[in-house]
Amino acid sequence: MKKTNQKKYDCAEIEKRVQAYLDNHLSDEEILMIEDHLSYCLPCDKKVEFEQKLKEIIKLKAAEKEYPKALEDELKKIIRNR
């Protein structure tokens, strides 16, 4: 059998790194290893995609789109009175 030096990630290693992967906090090498695994492991690919979607939904639904206009007036007051 041919021996290769390239280690592959198993599903447990994807689980361990999924959050750092989605937060873009991995090295290029780790990203390649993950994307390699996701290219042939459908269950992990689905889960990672779901986590990505959840991250987007949190941003979309939890960010306030408006803020009190009074804050702008306060800002002007603060910088002018001091």
């Binding site: 361990k16 937060d23 939904i57 789109k65 002018r80």
Partner: protein, 190 residues
Amino acid sequence: MPTARQQEFESLIAPHLSSLYSTALRMTHNQNDAEDLVQDTLYKAFRAFDQYQKNTNFRAWAFRILVNTYITAYRKAIRQPQKVSYDDLEEFYLYKKLDESISLQETAKEDFLENFFEDDVKDALENLPYQFRLVVLLCDVEGFSYNEIANIINTPLGTVMSRLYRGRKLLQRYLWSYAKKRGYVLNEKN
């Protein structure tokens, strides 16, 4: 006439008012307190503006002041995190629960996420212990990197990561319980 320095401060901070307010609101749970918190932050930031180094990360600098102001103001109200073990929180909790309960198509799983009410997501976030909530907000809502968050909350990187990961796992549990309460998931198998 405002001075150049006043104008510079105003133009730097104005684009971040809504994200400062958004974070303040999730941290304080109500609009009046959030407004006060942002106002105090603006005041302190302006007074400290001399210490801000030009062309460094202004947004992170402003958030650092917001976080410090929050912690100072709420020191008494912020209790130590409950002695709950977070170690048994598993990854992919929500996905696995959805998989177990109903055989949803993958697209339906994503629809399930879309269907959450904004208030459910906000409630779930606001129920997180404050240290977890803060890092989840800074990362997922405000888009800061781990290193920026470590700097904003003045905490080692490893702590940022463990709070973030536990916070998200906890958040998934809360979302799951809302989903059941709302009847999004009808037939959970046991």
